[in-house]
C-alpha cells in the first residue's frame, strides 16, 4: 500500500497545577483524547491494531510539572496551524492547554531523540535558607560523580556530563529555587530532585523540596541549545 502524504504538526503543551500528578501514560492518553475531540484529521498507523499516529517528547514523572512539553501529530490533511491550535485549545483541559503549534518537516528527527537538554526549577521550602541551600548544592557539585539509588537500581552520573550548565539558587518570596539544566543520556536522566535531595541530605538539612517543574526542553546543536 502506498504511503499517503501526511503533515507533521508539532504542538507545545503544559502539565500544570493538579495535573502534575499524572503519569506520562495518563498525559499521552488524555492528549490523544483531546485530539479526537478537536476532530483533527489525524493519520492512523497501518497494521493489525491501527491507532492514532502521534509521538511524544521525553516523559515527565508523576509529580513533576512541565511548562514547555511537546508532541508531534501526523495529519491526513493540512489544517492551518492556528486553526489546529484553536481547535485543540477548545478540547483540552486547562492544565494541559496547548501553547503553540507549527508544522515541521516530515524528516525532522523525533522529539525523543532530539530533545536531550532539560531545564528544571526545584522549589525548596522556607525551612532551608537560601545561603544554606547554595552551600549544600556547591558541596554536592564538588564531587565529580553522583550516585542515585532508585527502585533497587544504582546509577552513577558523571556530573560534568549531565550538568552542562552550572546550577544556581534563586531566592523567592516563600523559599528558594534551584535552577538547573540536565543532559539526558541513553543510560538515563538525572532527576533534579535527586541532586537537590542529596545536597540537602549531605548538609543535614530537612528534605524541603516542594515542587519540581521542567521549564524547558531543548535540542543540543553546535551553536548551543535550541527549542524544537
Amino acid at each position: 500500500m502506498a504511503e499517503r502524504t501526511t503533515f507533521r504538526l508539532r504542538v507545545r503543551f503544559g502539565k500544570l497545577g493538579r495535573l502534575r500528578h499524572l503519569s506520562h501514560l495518563e498525559v499521552m492518553r488524555a492528549l490523544e483524547r483531546s485530539i479526537r475531540r478537536a476532530d483533527l484529521p489525524y493519520a492512523v498507523t497501518q497494521g493489525f491494531s491501527p491507532h492514532m499516529k502521534a509521538a511524544f517528547g521525553p516523559a515527565l514523572p508523576v509529580g513533576t510539572a512541565g511548562l514547555r512539553e511537546y508532541y508531534d501529530l501526523w495529519l491526513r490533511e493540512l489544517v492551518p496551524a492556528p486553526e489546529a491550535l484553536a481547535r485543540l485549545a477548545a478540547a483540552t483541559p486547562p492544565g494541559m492547554a496547548p501553547g503553540a503549534a507549527r508544522y515541521v518537516p516530515e524528516k525532522a528527527p523525533s522529539l525523543s531523540a532530539a530533545l536531550t537538554i532539560a531545564r528544571y526549577e526545584v522549589g525548596v521550602g522556607p525551612a532551608v535558607g537560601p545561603e544554606m541551600l547554595v552551600r549544600a548544592v556547591e558541596d554536592v557539585l564538588a564531587e565529580s560523580e553522583l550516585t542515585v539509588k532508585a527502585k533497587g537500581k544504582t546509577k552513577v552520573f558523571d556530573l560534568a556530563s549531565v550538568l552542562p550548565e552550572e546550577p544556581r539558587v534563586e531566592s523567592s518570596g516563600s523559599g528558594s529555587t534551584v535552577v538547573l539544566t540536565t543532559r539526558m543520556g541513553a543510560t538515563g536522566s538525572l532527576r533534579p530532585e535527586a541532586l537537590v535531595g542529596r545536597a540537602l541530605e549531605c548538609a543535614g538539612l530537612p528534605h524541603a523540596i516542594t515542587t519540581v517543574t521542567r521549564t524547558d526542553l531543548l535540542m543540543e546543536t553546535e551553536g548551543g541549545f535550541m527549542r524544537p
Binding site: S34, R36, D39, P50, M52, A91
Partner: protein
C-alpha cells in the same frame, strides 16, 4: 473553602499510589459552586472501578441539570490515602468542589454487590458521618442507596436512611424535589425521611420493623411500623428509555480505569429467563432503544469524550432486534478513525459470531466469551439456559472458521440438582469444544490454541426462582472442584475459579436480614475493607465477625428456605410475582424450560401488569 481544602489534600498525594484517583479536573466535570443543594454520588470502591459505573454517570448528568442542585463524585480512597487522610484529619470530600460529605444535603451510594458493604462503612467513617441511621442528627446528610443490592437492602439497612429500588432517572428527581421542599419549609430530619417514604420506590428502613423478633437469621417479614408507611415498596422502572436523555458528555478519566471507553446503553432488561439470574428477573421488562437513538448517542459520546472505543452495553446486547443495523451503520460512520466498537456479551449462536465479526472488521479479533453455565442438557434445562450442545459447537465452529483463536467459556458449579455427572459433563463439553476448535484451525496454528474455562460457584439470589435453594458448603465446593479438575482435558485449557470463599460470603450476605448489620459493622471494625479485592479479602476475619454476632453464616447460605416462610425482602417488589418465581421453581425441578417472552408470548411473570409497563422493541412499544 475549595482552595483551602485542596491545600490540605495535595500534600497527601506525594506519598500515595495512583494520585490520579484524587485530582478531579477531568474533561467533562461539572462544577457548580453556587448550588444550594449538594449531592455526593458515591461509588463504594476506588475511582478506577467507580468511573466505570454507568449509574453514577447517569445520575451525575441528570442532577447537574437541576437548578440549584450540584451532584459531585466521591470514591473510596485506597488504604494508603485513607490512612493519610485520617492522620491529617482531612474528612472524606467530593472531587469537584472538595465539599466534605458530612456537609452535603444528600449522600447517594450505589451498591453494585454485597462485597462493597464494608466500604460503605469506611466511607461513612472517613466522612465523619455516624454509621447508623438512628445515630445521625439534624446536621448530617441523608444517606440513600440504590443499585442491585437495593432488592434486598436489609443486611445494610441500618446504615442507610433510605433506599431507592429500581431505575433512578425519574425517581431521583422526585426524591430531591421532595427533600428540598421539606428543607425549605423548615422540616426536621424525621420530616425529610417521612417525605422520602412517600416517593414511589423509596424504602425508609427506620419506618419498618421485623414482624417476628424471634425469627431466625435470613427469615421473617419486614413490615411498616405504622399505617402511614407503604407495606410494599415497588421498584421504579422507565416506561420507555426514549423518554430520558442518556449522558453523552460523561467525565473522561485520566487514569486507566476499568472498561476505559465510552458506553452507550442499547436496551434494559432481559427476558431469557435464566432461573439463577437476578438481573434477568429484577430489571424486567425488556425495553430497547431505537437504532437511530443508539447510533446518534454513540457518535455524540465519541465526539464529546474523545474515547477510541465504545461499548454497546446491556444484559444481552446481541438480542437487540436492530443490532445488525446498528453495527453496520456504526462501522460505516467510524471507518478509518481507529475507533472500535465492543459488545460485552455474545449470544451462543452463529448470529452472535457474525455480530462479533461485524465489530472486529478486518482488525484484531479479541477473544470471544460464551456462557453455557452448565455441562449437561438436563442441568441447562433446570436453569432455563436455552442453548444446546449443538448450538455451542456450531458457534465454536463458526468462530474458529472466521479466524478467532481464543474463546472463554463460563460455567457454574453447585447449581440446584447438580450431580457429579453434570460436573463431568462440563469436562466432556470442553473436550468437544476443543476438538471442534482444532478441526477449524489451520494445522500450523493449533499449537497455541487455548480454551479459557472460568468456573464460578452458584450463589442463590433474592427475587429469583432459586431464592429458596441452599448454596454449596465450602467443603462440598472443594470436592466438586476436584471432580471437575479430573474431568478437564489435560492440554489446551486454561481453567480458572472464582474464589469459593468469596462466593460463600456473598451468599451469606445476599439472603440475610437486618441482623447482618452487626456482622458487617464488626467485620469493618476488624479491618475488612475492599473485600472485592482478592488480596484484601479475608474469610477468617468475616467468620470471626459472624461468630461474635452469634450468627451462623453456613446456616444462612446453605440451608434450604421453606417457600411458606416470609423472606426478609418480601416487602420489596421487583414487579415479578412470588407466584411466578414458585412456578418457575417447580418447572426447574421438572426440567421444563420457559421461553423468552420478548419473542414468544407472555410467560406470566406479572412485571408488566404490576408496573404498568410493556415490552418495547426497537424503541417502539409492542402494544
Amino acid at each position: 473553602m475549595r482552595d483551602d481544602m485542596w491545600a490540605r489534600v495535595e500534600p497527601l498525594l506525594d506519598g500515595v499510589e495512583r494520585p490520579a484517583r484524587y485530582l478531579d479536573s477531568e474533561w467533562g466535570v461539572r462544577v457548580r459552586p453556587d448550588a444550594s443543594y449538594r449531592v455526593a454520588l458515591v461509588y463504594p470502591d476506588t475511582y478506577e472501578l467507580g468511573m466505570a459505573n454507568q449509574a453514577v454517570a447517569i445520575l451525575y448528568d441528570i442532577l447537574n441539570e437541576v437548578d440549584g442542585v450540584a451532584a459531585e463524585r466521591c470514591f473510596v480512597p485506597w488504604k494508603d490515602m485513607a490512612a493519610a487522610m485520617r492522620a491529617a484529619d482531612v474528612p472524606l470530600h467530593t472531587l469537584e468542589t472538595l465539599q466534605p460529605l458530612r456537609d452535603c444535603a444528600l449522600v447517594g451510594v450505589t451498591l453494585p454487590h454485597e462485597l462493597t458493604y464494608t466500604n460503605v462503612l469506611e466511607m461513612l467513617d472517613l466522612a465523619g458521618i455516624p454509621l447508623r441511621s438512628v445515630d445521625r442528627g439534624e446536621d448530617d446528610p441523608l444517606v440513600i442507596a440504590g443499585g442491585p443490592c437495593a432488592f434486598n437492602p436489609e443486611p445494610i439497612a441500618s446504615f442507610l436512611d433510605a433506599v431507592l429500588v429500581g431505575e433512578g432517572e425519574e425517581a431521583v428527581l422526585e426524591l430531591v424535589e421532595a427533600d428540598r421542599a421539606v428543607i425549605e419549609a423548615g422540616g426536621t430530619r424525621a420530616d425529610r425521611l417521612r417525605a422520602l417514604s412517600g416517593v414511589p420506590g423509596v424504602y425508609v428502613p427506620t419506618l419498618y420493623v421485623s414482624a417476628d423478633g424471634s425469627a431466625q437469621p435470613g427469615c421473617g417479614a419486614v413490615v411498616p411500623a405504622d399505617a402511614a408507611t407503604p407495606r410494599m415498596v415497588t421498584k421504579r422502572a422507565l416506561k420507555d428509555l426514549g423518554s430520558v436523555r442518556p449522558p453523552t458528555c460523561p467525565v473522561v478519566p485520566y487514569m486507566d480505569v476499568v472498561h476505559d471507553r465510552a458506553v452507550v446503553e442499547v436496551l434494559r432488561g432481559c427476558t431469557r429467563g435464566c432461573r439463577f439470574c437476578q438481573a434477568g428477573m429484577v430489571y424486567r421488562p425488556v425495553r430497547e432503544r431505537g437504532a437511530d437513538d443508539i447510533v446518534h448517542d454513540v457518535m455524540a459520546t465519541l465526539r464529546c469524550t474523545g474515547h477510541d472505543e465504545v461499548s454497546l452495553v446491556s444484559l444481552s446486547t446481541t438480542d437487540h432486534s436492530q443490532i445488525e443495523e446498528v453495527l453496520r451503520r456504526l462501522s460505516r460512520s467510524l471507518e478509518g478513525r481507529a475507533v472500535s466498537v465492543s459488545l460485552p456479551s455474545l449470544r451462543v449462536d452463529s448470529f452472535g459470531v457474525e455480530m462479533a465479526r461485524l465489530v472486529a472488521g478486518g482488525g484484531k479479533k479479541a477473544g470471544l466469551t460464551f456462557a453455557p453455565e452448565a455441562g449437561t442438557q438436563r442441568l441447562r434445562d433446570v436453569i432455563n439456559k436455552n442453548i444446546t450442545e449443538e448450538d455451542l459447537l456450531g458457534t465454536i465452529e463458526h468462530a474458529f472458521g472466521a479466524g478467532w483463536r481464543r474463546v472463554k467459556l463460563y460455567f457454574m458449579l453447585g447449581l440446584p440438582s447438580e450431580t457429579d455427572d453434570d460436573i463431568r459433563g462440563i469436562g466432556r463439553l470442553v473436550h468437544k469444544v476443543l476438538d471442534v476448535a482444532r478441526e477449524n484451525t489451520p494445522k500450523d496454528q493449533r499449537g497455541g490454541l487455548k480454551i479459557g474455562v472460568s468456573v464460578a460457584t452458584f450463589v442463590p439470589k433474592p427475587h429469583t426462582p432459586f431464592q429458596w435453594e441452599p448454596q454449596l458448603t465450602l467443603p462440598e465446593v472443594r470436592r466438586r472442584q476436584e471432580i471437575l479438575r479430573e474431568a478437564m482435558p489435560r492440554r489446551g485449557v486454561d481453567l480458572s475459579w472464582h474464589d469459593p470463599d468469596v462466593s460463600f460470603l456473598e451468599g451469606a450476605l445476599a439472603r440475610g436480614g437486618r441482623e447482618l448489620s452487626d456482622v458487617i459493622e464488626k467485620a469493618w471494625r476488624s479491618g475488612c475493607v475492599f473485600d472485592a479485592w482478592t488480596e484484601e479479602f479475608s474469610l477468617p476475619r468475616w467468620l470471626a465477625a459472624f461468630e461474635s454476632a452469634g450468627i451462623d453464616p453456613v446456616a444462612l447460605a446453605s440451608s434450604e428456605r421453606d417457600p411458606a416462610d416470609a423472606l426478609p425482602w418480601d416487602h420489596i417488589s421487583s414487579g415479578v410475582s412470588k407466584r411466578y418465581l414458585l412456578r418457575e421453581r417447580e418447572r426447574a425441578v421438572a426440567g421444563v424450560t420457559t421461553r423468552d417472552c420478548s419473542f414468544d408470548g407472555c410467560t406470566g411473570c406479572d412485571a408488566c401488569g404490576d408496573l404498568g409497563l410493556d415490552i418495547v422493541l426497537g424503541g417502539a412499544s409492542r402494544g
